[in-house]
Amino acid sequence: MTAIILIVIGVLLLAVLLAVRISNHRRPVDGVATFRRHIDALSPQARREVIDRVQNARDSGKGK
């Protein structure tokens, strides 16, 4: 009885793993979302942190 339950659980796990893999493969690349993310990451707001960090270090004489 235990063996049957273990086999059933194993088969179910394999099926879930297979389903996840297939869905990942079939998911189309969302061009709009990727492009949006790319553009947003280049916005002045997104860049502020890096520029301020270096500017502050430079102003306080710690940079370089």
């Binding site: 993310r37 280049l42 890096v50």
Partner: protein, 334 residues
């Protein structure tokens, strides 16, 4: 866990940006080696001070020329030492984004990535210098407007038109501030009969070099070795002489900017008249260069607030937003 790094592996200087920290290293791209044993004796500023002043058994070299690796093994050792200095060990292997000239060949690209991986990076990605410079110069490249950036480095000069996060037009020449130094060395040798080293040539450039006449110009006293007698000799150099000496190099940089302007689509070209072009890189600090480009291109030229750091800042931004910006890396597109 290693912090990821962005490296501006320049012909003249190497800058390292550490994720979450900022610029952690800024030194000349020079390495000093013992010629007999192959041992590394010094790197960075210490090695730079040795250029032209070493005994026979020591050699101080710049392993990059024109933005490309001229000596693979030495470059790898230099990168390995740089990574060690910023805390990378055998057990902490960071992701690294390296800025390279857009004009480098496929073979040269592979040489840079291989050298970086072998030096201890878990992954090495390349980004074109003008793209990184535009990000670091804080230009609004996320908007559909024409942004033009001119990056004059030690070995290359690149001009790019960027809009909506991508390169629209690009022009690169393997000419940079080292060629200006070499032109000064040749001129002094030819016209004054004295030999000077590359560091002295650089000092002359900084002291009296200019690409266009500027007010308040002084002469400079230069010491070198007389080619006829072999004895030390001092000559007086005028700024006009230096301008004449470096004119071919400057003209070639300006011509590449003109070619890039000509490649830009008309819709973007009109933006430059309003927004101007941005000058970055150490070579961009040559006095009168912005003025000369402006005069010949009839487009305003502005200096980036952080011209020396702009490229590494741009690459640093890419390492901070690695997933969102990985499409910008060379080889990721197409």
């Amino acid at each position: 866990m290693a912090r990821d790094l962005a490296i501006d592996l320049g012909t003249a200087n190497t800058l390292v940006y550490m994720k979450g920290r900022g610029i952690v290293l800024n030194e000349p791209s020079v390495i000093a080696l013992n010629r007999q044993t192959g041992e590394v004796l010094a790197t960075g500023r210490e090695a730079w001070q040795m250029i032209g002043r070493t005994p026979g058994y020591i050699v101080a070299v710049r392993p990059l020329r024109g933005g490309a690796i001229t000596d693979f093994e030495i470059t790898e050792r230099m990168i390995r030492l740089l990574l060690q200095r910023v805390g990378v060990s055998r057990f902490t292997r960071p992701k690294v984004v390296i800025c390279v000239p857009s004009a480098i060949t496929e073979v040269e690209r592979r040489a840079v990535t291989d050298a970086t991986r072998r030096a201890g990076a878990a992954d090495a990605q390349l980004i074109e210098q003008p793209m990184a410079a535009a990000i670091g110069a804080d230009l609004p490249i996320d908007e559909p407007v024409g942004n033009m950036v001119i990056d004059v480095g030690g070995g290359t000069s690149e001009t790019a038109v960027i809009s909506l996060g991508g390169v629209v037009a690009l022009e690169a020449v393997r000419v940079g501030s080292f060629d200006i130094d070499a032109a000064i060395q040749n001129y002094v040798r030819r016209e004054h009969g004295i030999a000077i080293g590359e560091r002295t040539a650089e000092e002359i450039k900084v002291a009296i070099g200019s690409a266009d006449p500027i007010g308040d110009e002084n002469e400079a006293e230069v010491r070198g070795r007389d080619l006829m007698s072999g004895l030390p000799k001092t000559v007086l150099l005028a700024p006009e002489e230096i301008r004449f000496a470096i004119d071919d190099v400057v003209s070639s940089i300006v011509a590449s900017v003109v070619r890039c302007l000509a490649k830009a689509p008309p819709e973007l070209a009109q933006d430059f008249l309003v927004r101007g072009m941005y000058l970055v890189g150490g070579g961009g600090l040559l006095r009168g260069l912005a003025q000369r480009i402006e005069r010949e291109c009839k487009v305003p030229v502005r200096m980036s607030p952080m011209p020396l750091e702009a490229v590494v800042l741009g690459a640093g931004h890419c390492i901070e937003h690695y997933e969102a910006l990985k499409g910008m890396f060379m080889g990721a597109r197409r």
